[in-house]
C-alpha cells in the first residue's frame, strides 16, 4: 500500500517535471529580418538592437506566460532577394511562429508572397503604404505610413499659405513610395507640384536638380530620402544660396542627419515619430512615459539614444507579446489577436488594428519638428 503511494507520487512528480521541462524548454520562436548592414543599416541596426533588448527584458521578467521568447534573426543587408531567402529559412528551418521586419519597403514587398503562402504573421518595420494597402491577411506594419507624413507636411504648407512646391526624391524604394504619395495627395490638399526632380542614392552632388528647382516657381522644397542624400541636398541648397523653406521626410529623423548636414540643417522641418522629442512633449501626451522609458533603456544598453527607427521594432515585439499573451503562440492565433489590438500605446503612435486596417495609425502618429541649434524643436 505504502509502496503504491510512493510509486504514484514518484510517477506524478516525474510527469510534472517532464511537462514543466518541455514547456520551459520550448521557447516561443519569432523571426527577425533586419538590414543590419548595407545602405539601410541605419534602420536595421537600431531595430535589431531594440528587438534584442526588448526580448531580453521580456525574458528577465518571466517570459510570456512562463515561456521564454527567442529571437532568430538574419541580416538581409537591405537586399530583397536575401530577404526572401532568409524568410524561407525562418519559416521552413527555424519554424518561427511570427516574423518581425524587414527594415525596408522593397524587402517587405518581396517577401509578402512567401508569407501569405506559408501563413505566418509578419509585422514589418517599413513605411511604404503598399505594404498594408490593400490589406493582406498575414501582413501588419508598425512604421507610420508615408502617406501620413505627406499629409502632415501638406497641412503645414497650407497653414503657411504656400501651395506650389518642388519635390526632390531619391530613386530607391523609400523615395519612390514617397514621391507617389506626394503626387497622389497634392490635388486634394490644394498643392501644385511645379518641379519633380529625382536623385540617385549614390549621387554626390544635387546642385543640378536644385538649380532647376530654383528656376521654377516653387515656394518650398520637399526632399524625400534617407541619409546621406538629404544632407547633401541641404548643403547644396545652402551653397547655392537657395532660401526656400526646406521640408524633409521622416527618413532623416536621427541625429546622424544633423551631424552630416552641419549648419545647413538649421530650419529644416520634418514629420517624425514622437520619440525624438520625447522630453519636450507635454505631460498630457499619452505616449510620453513609454517613449522616455525606451529612450533611456536604449541609452543604457547602447550608449546612444533610442531613435525613431528602433521604435518600430519595439512596437513589433510588444505587439507580438500582447497577441501571444491573449491568444497563444500558434501563427493563426497570433494573427487573429494582432488584428484585435486596440489602443496600443507604442513608440510610433497609438495603434488600432482592424481587419481592414493593418497599419493601425493616424496622422497624429507624426509630429512636426524643426531643427534648431542642432536639436529638435516641436512645431505647434
Amino acid at each position: 500500500m505504502f509502496k503504491t503511494i510512493i510509486k504514484s507520487i514518484c510517477i506524478f512528480c516525474l510527469l510534472l517535471v517532464f511537462t514543466v521541462n518541455s514547456w520551459s524548454q520550448e521557447p516561443i520562436k519569432i523571426g527577425g529580418l533586419f538590414a543590419v548592414t548595407g545602405p539601410p543599416s541605419f534602420l536595421g541596426e537600431p531595430e535589431r538592437n531594440t528587438a534584442n533588448m526588448v526580448v531580453d527584458q521580456i525574458n528577465k521578467t518571466g517570459g510570456i506566460k512562463g515561456r521564454k521568447l527567442k529571437l532568430v534573426f538574419y541580416d538581409t543587408q537591405g537586399d530583397a532577394t536575401k530577404a526572401v531567402q532568409a524568410a524561407t529559412r525562418l519559416i521552413k528551418e527555424d519554424r518561427v511562429s511570427a516574423i518581425i521586419g524587414p527594415s525596408t519597403t522593397g524587402e517587405t514587398m518581396a517577401i509578402i508572397g512567401t508569407i501569405e503562402a506559408a501563413g505566418i504573421p509578419l509585422i514589418s518595420c517599413a513605411a511604404g503604404i503598399k505594404i498594408t494597402e490593400p490589406v493582406k491577411k498575414w501582413v501588419f506594419k508598425t512604421a507610420q505610413n508615408d502617406s501620413l507624413a505627406v499629409e502632415r507636411i501638406y497641412d503645414n504648407l497650407k497653414k503657411r499659405n504656400m501651395n506650389s512646391v518642388a519635390i526632390l526624391t531619391v530613386s530607391d524604394g523609400f523615395g519612390a513610395s514617397g514621391r507617389e504619395q506626394l503626387k497622389l495627395r497634392a490635388k486634394d490638399s490644394g498643392i501644385t507640384i511645379v518641379s519633380d526632380e529625382v536623385y540617385s542614392p549614390n549621387d554626390t552632388d544635387m546642385t543640378a536638380q536644385l538649380v532647376k528647382i530654383r528656376g521654377s516657381k516653387a515656394q518650398a522644397i520637399i526632399c524625400w530620402g534617407t541619409n546621406p542624400g538629404p544632407a547633401k541636398v541641404a548643403r547644396n541648397a545652402k551653397q547655392l544660396g537657395l532660401n526656400l523653406p526646406l521640408y524633409m521626410s521622416h527618413g532623416i529623423s536621427s541625429k546622424k542627419f544633423i551631424e552630416l548636414a552641419g549648419d545647413a540643417a538649421e530650419g529644416i522641418t520634418l514629420p517624425s515619430g514622437r520619440v525624438i522629442v520625447a522630453n519636450v512633449l507635454p505631460k498630457s501626451d499619452q505616449q510620453k512615459k513609454s517613449l522616455l522609458a525606451y529612450v533611456n533603456d536604449y541609452k543604457n544598453h547602447f550608449k546612444i539614444e533610442g531613435d525613431h527607427f528602433g521604435g518600430h521594432a519595439w512596437d513589433a515585439v510588444m505587439l507580438l507579446k500582447g497577441a501571444i499573451e491573449r491568444g497563444g503562440d500558434s501563427p493563426a492565433a497570433i494573427r487573429d489577436e494582432l488584428e484585435n489590438t486596440r489602443n496600443f500605446k507604442g513608440i510610433g503612435g497609438i495603434f488600432n488594428f482592424t481587419p481592414q486596417d493593418h497599419a493601425g495609425l493616424t496622422k497624429d502618429a507624426f509630429v512636426l519638428v524643426t531643427i534648431k541649434n542642432k536639436g529638435w524643436m516641436l512645431v505647434k
Binding site: E197, S200, T207, V211, R214, G215, Q239, K256, L260
Partner: protein, 294 residues
C-alpha cells in the same frame, strides 16, 4: 537670363567634378603608361584619401594639415604594398589575370575599409569655410577653388616630372618598350613601383580635396574610379592635358545632362560617353593610334 544662369551653374559644378575626374584619370594613365596595366583599384585610393583623413583628423584628433599628409602617406604605402605583393609577381601575365587581380585588390581594400570604419557616410570640414562665392548668379564654394588650384599644381608637377626629369622620362621609356629600357639600364621594377606610388598619392589627394564637398564613405571609390577611367580613355591615356580635358568634358557633360535632360540618368551619361569613345575612337579624342602587338 535665367537659362544662362542655369547653364553657368551647371558648367561650373561640372568643371569642379571634372577636375576630380581628371586627377583620378591621371592616376590611371600614369600606371598604364609605365606598366600597361589598368589599375581597377585606383578609385579605392581616392576613397582611402578621404577616409584616412577622417580617421586621423576626427578620430585621432590631429590637425587637419597633418591628417592630410598622413593620409596621403598611408594611402601611398597601401598602393606600394599592393604593387609589390600582387602586381609585380604577375606583370607578364595576360590582361585577364591582371584585370582580375586589380579588381580583387579594389574589393579587398574596400572591404577592409568597411570593416575598419563601417558603412556610414561622414563629412569632412571644408578647408576654408562654408560661405558660397557668387559669380554672375552662379554659386561656387571655396572648396571648388581648392580643387581647381590643387589639380592645376598636380598637373603641372606631373608634366614637369614626366618630361623634364630623368625618372619621369625613364618611366615613359618603360611604357614604350620594357626590354629596351632594361637594356639601357633602367630599373623597370622600380619604375613600376614608382608609378603606383605616384598614382596612389594623386588619387588620395583627389579624395581629400573632394571629400568636404561630397562626403565620404567606404564605397565612394567605385563610381569615382570608373568615371576617372572615362576621363583617361577620352584623353587617350596620354597622361597629360588630354586626360585633363577628358575629365572636364565628362564632368561638364554629366552636369549639363543631369540639369537639362534627366537627373536620374546622370551616372549613365559618363558611361554612355565611354562606350561611344570606345566604339568610335578607342585611342581617345587626343591620343595617337596604338599599334597592335602580335
Amino acid at each position: 537670363m535665367e537659362l544662362f544662369e542655369q547653364l553657368l551653374q551647371y558648367t561650373l559644378s561640372g568643371l569642379s567634378t571634372g577636375a576630380i575626374y581628371a586627377l583620378i584619370g591621371l592616376g590611371f594613365a600614369i600606371i598604364y603608361n609605365s606598366t600597361s596595366i589598368i589599375n581597377f583599384a585606383q578609385g579605392e585610393f581616392v576613397m582611402l584619401g578621404g577616409m584616412l583623413t577622417l580617421f586621423f583628423h576626427i578620430t585621432l584628433g590631429l590637425y587637419l594639415p597633418l591628417a592630410v599628409v598622413l593620409a596621403v602617406v598611408v594611402a601611398t604605402a597601401v598602393g606600394a604594398l599592393f604593387e609589390r605583393l600582387a602586381i609585380s609577381p604577375l606583370k607578364d601575365a595576360e590582361p585577364i589575370i591582371l584585370v582580375i587581380i586589380t579588381i580583387g585588390g579594389s574589393i579587398l581594400i574596400r572591404g577592409v575599409a568597411m570593416l575598419l570604419w563601417g558603412k556610414d557616410t561622414h563629412a569632412l570640414p571644408m578647408f576654408s569655410g562654408n560661405e558660397p562665392i557668387i559669380l554672375m548668379g552662379a554659386a561656387m564654394m571655396p572648396q571648388n577653388l581648392w580643387i581647381f588650384g590643387i589639380t592645376l599644381i598636380i598637373i603641372t608637377a606631373n608634366r614637369f616630372f614626366f618630361h623634364h626629369s630623368i625618372s619621369g622620362k625613364a618611366m615613359r621609356a618603360c611604357s614604350v618598350n620594357r626590354i629596351a629600357s632594361r637594356l639601357v639600364g633602367i630599373d623597370v621594377k622600380r619604375m613600376m613601383l614608382f608609378s603606383f606610388v605616384i598614382s596612389s598619392a594623386m588619387g588620395a589627394a583627389a579624395g581629400i580635396i573632394i571629400a568636404p564637398l561630397t562626403m565620404t564613405s567606404y564605397d565612394v571609390g567605385v563610381m569615382l574610379g570608373l568615371k576617372g577611367f572615362c576621363a583617361a580613355i577620352i584623353g587617350g591615356m596620354s597622361g597629360g592635358m588630354g586626360t585633363v580635358a577628358g575629365g572636364l568634358i565628362v564632368g561638364v557633360l554629366e552636369s549639363l545632362g543631369a540639369g537639362l535632360i534627366s537627373s536620374g540618368y546622370k551616372d549613365a551619361i559618363a558611361f554612355i560617353i565611354l562606350l561611344i569613345i570606345l566604339f568610335i575612337r578607342p585611342q581617345g579624342l587626343f591620343g595617337k593610334g596604338e599599334a597592335e602587338r602580335v
